[in-house]
Amino acid sequence: MNEFKKKKIMAGIAILLLLFLIIATFGGGGEISPIENFAGKNVALIQRGFTVGADFFGNIFNPVANIWRLDKINKELEIENQELRRKLIAATLSQKEKEDLSQMKKALNYAQSKGYDFLTCDVVSKDPGTWFNMFIINKGTNDGVYQEQAVINGDGLIGIVYEAGKDWAKVVSIIDNKSSVSFKLLDEKDFSIGIVEGGAERGLSGYLFNPKAEVHAGQEIITSGIGIYPEGLLIGTISDVIIEKNELLKRIKVEEVVDFKTINRVMVLLPLKEVEAQ
């Protein structure tokens, strides 16, 4: 057998082995192996140093690089600010505003009421590809972080812990291809529920189970509590409603509230039992 044939056979064996590994491990979400744990812990240390340095320089240079865009955003914010001021004055005496504020307070404090506590974590590194939206945080099972715990920040829902090592964990964001979240409309009257999913296209897309639901662009959606995410976490704002006559579902496009490209610090929701146990 000549050298060329030998290499072709070796390549074939390698491909078959890798295909077997891919099929066996697809979906992941299990426990992190001791080898991964060791590698992850040490690599995360190096990555953390680089991330801090990169963020430092990024904070200096990004505003300069984006000066034209920032000027445009500034003008838009000015207009939005004026509009919000008008709305605030108009709504000062309204009962609805009181209820809205109470709703916001509920949303902000919902963690305690639902039996959760926060654990603040730093983002150590982010997915090197464009296909997935995963990142690594610097807390793991030693700190009470386990698989399927929700991850949030001040803006809203970010994602879920995918796998956890002792001192680090992988988080998969809601805009990732394999993510899906059960939601309900943030509405006083209509609590219709549905599913939003991440995808290759930017933003989230999904559908409402109730085709008669009164839904419109600009409405906010929160987690419904069905499935792995706790109830009441802000997901995003509906940007488009698509009604297809042949389907019995109302399809929606959602603009997420969190800017996933700039997250540096996140909070993992821990059940209070685990916090007390620690």
Binding site: G27, G58, G129, K178, E201, R202, K261
Partner: protein, 170 residues
């Protein structure tokens, strides 16, 4: 020694890409430094070095960011194998070599990902993937590869990483 340098380069590339390069994006997309380095190694060096760079880059990404272990390794290995196999047959080394090879590598990477995900039950809008992911990444990868090939390729040459040719085991 050669393999040590290759492993270190791939590791440094991985660290840079998951931290520093996150700030350098075009249309929300960033260059795939691991793929670019594999192309440079595969074009400039003998086949085993190209393959080795693919294994290191693939395993690192599989460890930390892959939904299935082995996916990136398989993709990068295919890229390294293909480039090592075709470089001697179809192209004489020139300024266009890294550009053509990295374009091929980027398209090959996305094609394999789409196939794997299709069989995993995922459905997607191919036009959106092409316009929003493949095109910007292709553009960035070409720029990065051209620069790295010019600078890093020379360094590799001086360090004794010699390109012997098609299917050579050096």
């Amino acid at each position: 020694m050669k393999y040590g340098i290759t492993a270190f380069t791939m590791f440094a590339g991985f660290i840079l890409q998951t931290t520093l390069l996150q700030h350098i994006r075009a249309f929300g997309v960033m260059s795939n430094l691991a793929l670019v380095l594999i192309v440079v190694f595969s074009v400039r060096c003998i086949m085993p070095v190209g393959i080795f760079s693919a294994v290191v880059g693939g395993v690192l990404q599989d460890f930390f960011f892959s939904p299935a272990f082995g996916m990136y390794t398989l993709i990068y290995l295919t890229v390294a194998f293909s480039i090592s196999a075709i470089k001697g047959s179809f192209l004489k080394e020139s300024g266009a070599t890294p550009v053509v090879m990295v374009a091929f590598a980027t398209i090959c990477q996305y094609f394999m990902m789409i196939v794997i995900y299709y069989f995993a039950g995922m459905r997607f809008n191919l036009l959106a993937i092409f316009l929003r992911m493949i095109l910007p990444e292709l553009f960035l990868n070409i720029i990065f590869c051209w620069i790295l090939y010019k600078i890093f390729g020379r360094v590799l040459g001086k360090m004794g990483f010699v390109n012997i040719g098609r299917w050579s085991n050096g």
